[in-house]
Symmetry: C2
Subunit: 360 residues, 2 copies
């Protein structure tokens, strides 16, 4: 029995993000995705919600910053902190972001003298599509935390928020990434899902682009892009899937590059490595290929579920508004990402999307 | 790409049990195990602990009965209750056990008119080895709840507690199972890990036995046994692994038996089905074969980890007692069950342990 060939190198991850009972976002998504690629995952859950907020109604509780710190103390007192990677996502308050930052720095201190033995991937969850969906004091908390991260995965709005640069065209986007490298000293950046056509690029409008960069020793970015077809569906949790897959695949790519890079602080490749040869670029190719397959399968399952559940809503006594909301719930449920039964696409992606150098 | 051949039939599970950040017990074990066999799992976590209690120290919080009810209300208000199975484990108070019982009965009401469309597997976590480790009022709460369950998975102590029969020999054990079938109307019972040799049986002392039964229409048990070699290691979470694997494999065996059984209340086989031909017996064979392989691999990994971490404890300034506790922590960590990298043994067990009829 071939037991490990589809696994990434042994990786112990501390994952700090939200938990939902039903569906797949936050740690509920990230834990399964990383586990299915062979990573050991310890999860500190920052919220305990019944479902994701895309349903527009939710029940449950948020974890206080104190409880987050307390759980981490539980790990340290029993010597359970042998993590290779911290992946942090949604934190429900500025104090919670600070707690996560302190945990990251504690793990960094424990790894001192062993460069490359610990890596922090930070998803600075603040908002999307021009709108902040966290409290305003979360922004300065992230601006402090990001200085200690090895990799951040902001979307376009979060890139604007961190860089202070409003992104109206592709030059702005490149400048924002350069600025984040310089201002915060973050060595790896991936800007998830940018629509370049809306930024005046000649890229066809049916494509979404992921832009990544690993900094050079002189502070300049090494920019690459990977284009994928945009899908006509509003999924939740895809950012969390992207981040989780990136942790596993980046670690795999770093190991493939040999022991020297793995023992380098923040896994920053030598300056002569071209943008498209970066481990981050290789990892992004695999990540997006996995995701595209899983999301296509999700769309198929969604169509099937919507057909099965059509006309199942009893409209008796419902107002038009109530009926529309029931329909919204039905469609949101049908669009839950189908990771469980499509795990082979996570484990064995066929790489169809390739990284290209990006210079604007 | 063969995507689904290792999956059990589509199964949506609501899992209510404890969550630990580090290691594998409760829902942290059960969720991954069921997901890896292809089940969709919605998890309501009854505690949020840093680690399992085998470490003898733990930090974290317990979920109140009110919060458990509230999370379930979150699911119902968004129509997210299409569960085929409820698997319930540790609940931290009598009120929490009652909340779980109410959730089970609500799901049963929703399934009314569709026999077999919902199944409750209940692990009545109360104690072990002659000792109660929950508050005393949890016992009557379980005695009420068990009446609504389709399958229970007590250990020997819990079997004694529920039946009121002190088990000193194999006849007592058989009587206790018969009594639980009759008193509580529970159709399926599995008593996990009994040492028959200690009950005066001629079974060699190196064997552990699982005893199961599905009731006949006249209330008599159909008893079967599966023997496995006892392992010289104290693992945590094996009961949760057993329960989670049983949910998936029982469902598979029920589907294999054809549509009639699947549409029968509580999936109780016709009286002419022999004990060793019961879906519960077939499922237990697969479950124990998976578990034995995973635990053997865990013992190998444990030895390797203990060798690597030998002499890593700095004894300076530690009392003998403190040093012993550090050693306890080191050994407990090394014995965490290695499910992640041994997932193929979960997915594709080679059945080596066979069910035998058991009549004492």
């Amino acid at each position: 029995m071939a037991l490990t060939k589809e696994n990434v190198p042994e990786t112990k991850v501390l994952a700090i993000a939200s938990h939902v009972c039903y569906g797949f976002v936050g740690n509920t998504m990230a834990t399964f995705v990383m586990q299915s690629l062979g990573c050991e995952v310890a999860a500190i859950n920052t919220v305990h919600f019944s479902n994701h907020t895309g349903y527009c109604q939710v029940k449950g509780t948020k974890t206080s910053a104190e409880d987050i710190r307390n759980l981490y103390e539980g790990l340290t007192q029993s010597y359970l902190t042998d993590f290779d990677v911290l992946l942090s996502g949604y934190a429900p308050s500025a104090a919670a972001v600070e707690a996560v930052g302190d945990i990251a720095q504690d793990l960094q201190r424990r790894a001192e003298g062993k460069p490359g033995s610990f890596f922090w991937a930070l998803d600075p969850v603040m908002g999307d599509l021009g709108r902040l969906y966290v409290a305003e004091d979360v922004v300065p908390a992230y601006k402090k935390a990001v200085r200690h991260a090895d990799l951040i995965l902001p979307n376009q709005f979060e890139t604007e928020t961190l860089s202070g640069i409003k992104i109206a065209n592709t030059t702005d986007l490149a400048n924002a990434i350069t600025s984040i490298h310089k201002t915060y000293g973050v060595p790896h950046i991936i800007v998830t899902s940018v629509q370049l056509s809306s930024l005046g690029s000649s890229t066809p409008s049916g494509l979404m682009t992921v832009i990544g960069s690993t900094v050079r020793s002189d502070g300049t970015p090494r920019l690459f892009r990977v284009d994928i077809p945009a899908l006509e569906c509003n999924f939740n949790g895809t950012g969390d899937m992207f981040a989780a897959l990136t942790v596993a695949r980046l670690r795999e790519a770093i190991f493939a590059a040999g022991p020297s890079l793995r023992n380098t602080k923040s896994w920053v490749s030598p300056d002569d490595v071209a943008p498209t040869d970066l481990p981050l670029a290789k990892s992004t190719e695999k990540v997006l290929s996995s995701m595209h397959s899983v999301l296509l399968k999700t769309m198929e399952s969604r169509e099937a579920e919507l057909a099965t559940t059509a006309n199942t809503i009893d409209a008796t006594g419902l107002t038009e508004e109530q009926l529309q909301f029931r329909e919204h719930l039905r469609r949101t449920k049908a669009a839950e990402v189908r990771v469980i039964r499509n795990v082979d696409f996570l484990r064995k992606p066929t790489v169809v999307f390739k990284a290209q150098q990006w210079a604007e």
